[in-house]
């Protein structure tokens, strides 16, 4: 199937954003008529690499991309497209108010003297749709199509430009089983047409089923490529995670004794879409990690427990009392606090002072008669918070927007701690924070656990989860796929977590049957 000249060859691609090396000297080859899978943890550089290919990012000097043996110009999406590169992103780029044909030719409408020929668009789109074997026609409005069908429209668009290379970035994330099967049939057809398909996915079963070869990226670097017969879960997982735990995670608290005293109990909570019936418990002084891939429902789970979104099922118990919150206000009053993953969009008031930010949740309780602000208490709280969390700021009256990421994160934490919660849920607490602030946040989490708080930490960084948690739940597709805990003499292994989150079944205690079996049964 593979001939000698690769359809796609990327050589020595590096990409630096500011001081961060997103890609380091990555090379990749994909041949016509093969599905080449690309795997890696969140943030390993897959998307960046594909953006270099599509021309959305220009790589650092020294890298080159060859299509069918000829180098192509870099950093210009139009030129990449003209050379036969089509990228189908996770979030689709269709205009739902237009027809399938209009979308296929969006930006390249056939016209005579500036007048668009609708008939020609329809006539040229229909054969492509027929080849894909779809059930809708070229004149259908995209808004009437399902997500899976829209994906096929994107593929039709790629085919209309005679793409030689089609990149699909986690195409099945929002597809049903049937739509996924349909997509796989279409991919098989693309292979027969001699197109090179680069397929990004986190799902092991898809990788097994589709790949002719599979390459792995880690921390922006190329790790290796496996041939079809070498592809196995254990090997892929260890290629994806294989890095050392550094010692800067702080965990001195021991959850043992007190943890028997359950503080938070979540029972079968779900929203019917992203979270499907999750139950777990957290004890006093315990740090529970929640791992899982992006999109596995971790943030949504925390938001349901906090009452930020409304749950369609489930209850939340705090110290044996049913406190199922209807709003964040409710949750906070009961002692459940939530640190959002997006501090700028969902947490801070950037134009308000640090003091206002820190006091926001408690100002009402501190108020004098008639709702008058208690300036003295507010100043005292702000001062002591700046002090105890060592927030580096010129004064409590500085605007929150003027602080660095790590200090902003500590200001948000300070706000939550002022409310004296019993349960603290932290969503990506160290995202966008420098190393120094990271270790301070770890130390703080450790101290808070020792002081008796029950803490839930969602993180995409496996070493972080392993470094600070007593137990770790792994989510996959809205459910809790399993639990990994440290036992005496054995720490949590990254491979266990990766296996559970991708469904590779190499981990301990799994509850869901392998999805691949379902597929083969069809």
């Amino acid at each position: 199937m593979t001939d000698d000249v690769p359809m796609l060859e990327m050589r020595n691609i590096s990409k630096t954003f500011g001081t961060i090396k997103a890609l380091q000297d990555v090379s990749l080859r994909a041949y016509g008529g093969e599905v080449h899978s690309l795997m890696g943890e969140n943030g390993a550089g897959k998307s960046t690499l594909m953006k270099v290919l599509s021309g959305a990012h220009a790589p650092d000097a020294g890298g080159e991309v060859l299509v069918d043996g000829a180098p192509i110009p870099l950093g210009d999406p139009k030129l990449s497209k003209a050379r036969g590169v089509a990228v189908i992103y996770q979030e689709l780029t269709l205009a739902p108010n237009l027809t399938v044909a209009q979308n296929v030719f969006l930006g390249a409408e056939p016209h005579r003297g500036g007048i668009v020929s609708r008939r020609e668009m329809l006539e040229r789109t229909q054969p492509i749709l027929d080849r894909l074997g779809v059930t809708f026609d070229a004149g259908t409005k995209v808004s009437r199509l399902s997500l899976g069908e829209r994906q096929l429209v994107e593929i039709a668009r790629a085919m209309s430009t005679d793409a030689k290379i089609i990149v699909m970035d986690e195409p099945t994330t929002s597809l049903s089983e049937r739509e996924t099967d349909k997509l796989f049939q279409v991919i098989a057809g693309l292979k027969r047409d001699g197109i090179a398909v680069v397929y990004i996915s986190h799902r092991m079963d898809e990788i097994y089923q589709l790949s002719d070869r599979c390459s792995v990226l880690r921390d922006g670097a190329f790790v290796g490529t496996l041939e079809k017969d070498e592809i196995e879960a254990d090997r892929l997982v260890s290629m994806m995670v294989g890095r050392d735990l550094s010692s800067f995670y702080k965990k001195e608290h021991v959850a043992e004794g007190d943890a028997q005293q359950r503080v938070l109990r979540v029972e079968d909570i779900g929203d019917g879409v992203k979270v499907r019936g999750c139950s777990f418990e957290v004890g006093r002084g315990e740090v529970l990690g929640i791992a899982g891939l992006v999109g596995s429902g971790r943030t949504e789970l925390l938001r349901l427990i906090y009452g930020a979104d409304s749950a369609s099922s489930g209850r939340v118990w705090l110290d044996g009392e049913d406190v199922t919150p209807r709003s964040p206000r409710d949750a906070l009053r009961h002692g459940i606090a939530y640190l959002t993953e997006d501090r700028k969009e969902l947490g801070l008031f950037l134009d308000m002072t640090l003091s206002d930010n820190i006091n926001m949740a408690v100002a009402e309780g501190d108020a004098r008669a008639g709702g008058l602000r208690n300036f003295r208490t507010a100043a005292r709280r702000a001062r002591s918070a700046l002090d105890s969390l060592s927030i580096r700021a010129p004064s409590a009256r500085a605007n929150a927007g003027s602080l660095s990421g790590g200090n902003q994160q500590k200001v948000l934490l300070a706000r939550l701690l002022e409310a004296q919660p019993k349960v603290l849920m932290l969503d990506e607490p160290t995202r966008g924070v420098d190393v120094g602030a990271k270790s301070e946040i770890y130390r703080l989490i450790d101290e808070l656990a020792r002081s008796g708080l029950a803490i839930v930490v969602v993180s995409s960084e496996l070493p972080e989860i392993i470094g600070i948690s007593d137990r770790c739940l792994v989510m996959r597709e809205g459910k809790i796929a399993g639990e990994v805990s440290a036992a005496p003499g054995r720490s949590i292994e990254q491979t266990d977590i990766m296996a559970l989150s991708t469904g590779a079944q190499a981990g301990t205690r799994t509850e869901t049957p392998p999805k691949i079996a379902e597929k083969e049964g069809l």
Binding site: S327, L332, G347, F349, M352, G370, R373, S402
Partner: protein, 327 residues
């Protein structure tokens, strides 16, 4: 350490920028006053300043309500119509023998009620403020005409006419009311929890909700307050005119109120601004109107100049957002 110095100089710069913006329009006001004095020779007289204050007063009151709304990132287009309906209501009730003064609370209550309807639609049904108040701009105008049978309601013996035409120790009552409203607004924004919540909702509504702030209550309050101020404006203008006309009164007042708020440095996006800026903004508009008349500029050109000032104000708003962009 470098982190510390950059952030502190950054915040100093930000503080400087804030004070320049707050002051920003005061020099403009002073320059305009001096300019008109030079051109006309009769601008800076006690009598004329008293007239300017009277002319500015209703817009100051409306703009104070509007400041609350815009601080939450919303808009209230219905203030002129609500003013008309409240004025018609106030004059109608004032005609009742012996209960004439009841016209004042009736005017206020009408304004509050219309404002609360806006607030309920926006806070609880989550409809966009622009659409809701655009609708009530039209609908309440109709209600105002209906209430007065589409005629002008007169009361030559209006018991509260002194509010519109009298003075207290030489200061017009209208001006006293306007300044009292500014002080009350300042107090609410600065010294109450509600005030902090208003800034928080405008700065980041979703963060406010996640912090346990009753966002709906805040929105209900600001639209209710804006309605109440429109009602007060209605009472003030009927007191001045001894009459109210549902069709003509308060036409396009919302534009002057919005212009005053923006001129005063309040961001249309919400979360940033002060009531003192609004006061200065409203005074600039009044000085502009009065001065252009004194210098003999035609009515037509007054429209054009005022319109350009509004556009200039929005341009300032954009510039401020850009220069305030954070990393």
């Amino acid at each position: 350490m470098t982190d510390d110095t950059t952030s502190s100089s950054g915040s100093k710069r930000a503080a400087l920028r804030t004070s320049i913006m707050a002051l920003g329009m005061l020099p403009v006001l002073i320059l305009l006053a001096i300019g008109f004095e030079v051109l006309s020779g009769k601008f800076l007289t006690v009598n004329n300043i008293s007239i300017v204050m009277q002319q500015a007063s209703i817009n100051i009151v409306l703009a104070a309500g509007m400041t609350f709304v815009i601080l939450t990132g919303g808009i209230d287009l219905s203030v002129g119509s609500i003013l008309a309906a409240s004025a018609v209501g106030a004059v109608t009730v004032s005609l009742l023998d012996g209960y004439g003064m009841v016209g004042i609370p009736v005017g206020l209550a009408l304004g509050l009620a219309f404002g609360l309807v806006n607030g309920v639609l926006i806070a609880f049904l989550k409809l966009p403020p622009f659409i809701v108040t655009l609708g009530s701009l039209t609908a309440v105008r109709g209600v105002a005409r209906l209430m007065g049978n589409d005629t002008t309601v007169f009361n030559s013996d209006l018991p509260f006419a002194f509010l519109g035409n009298g003075d207290f120790l030489g200061v017009p009552w209208l001006a006293i009311i306007a300044l009292a409203v500014i002080l009350l607004s300042w107090f609410i924004l600065r010294a109450t929890i509600l005030g902090t919540w208003i800034y928080a909702v405008g700065g980041n509504q979703e963060a406010a909700r996640l912090t346990g702030i009753k966002v709906s209550l805040v929105l209900l309050f600001v639209y209710g307050f804006s309605g109440l101020m429109s009602g007060l404006g209605g009472v003030m203008s009927s007191a001045r005119l001894y009459a109210a006309n549902g069709l003509q009164l308060g036409q396009a007042y919302e534009l002057d109120a919005i212009a005053a708020v923006i001129l005063g440095g309040t961001s249309l996006i919400g979360g940033i601004g002060s009531i003192w800026g609004t006061l200065i903004g409203a005074l600039i508009i009044a000085v502009l109107s009065n001065g252009l008349i004194l210098t003999g500029v035609s009515d037509i050109w007054q429209y054009i100049i005022k319109g350009l000032v509004i556009i200039g104000a929005v341009a300032l708003d954009r510039y401020r957002i850009k220069s305030g962009a954070r990393t």
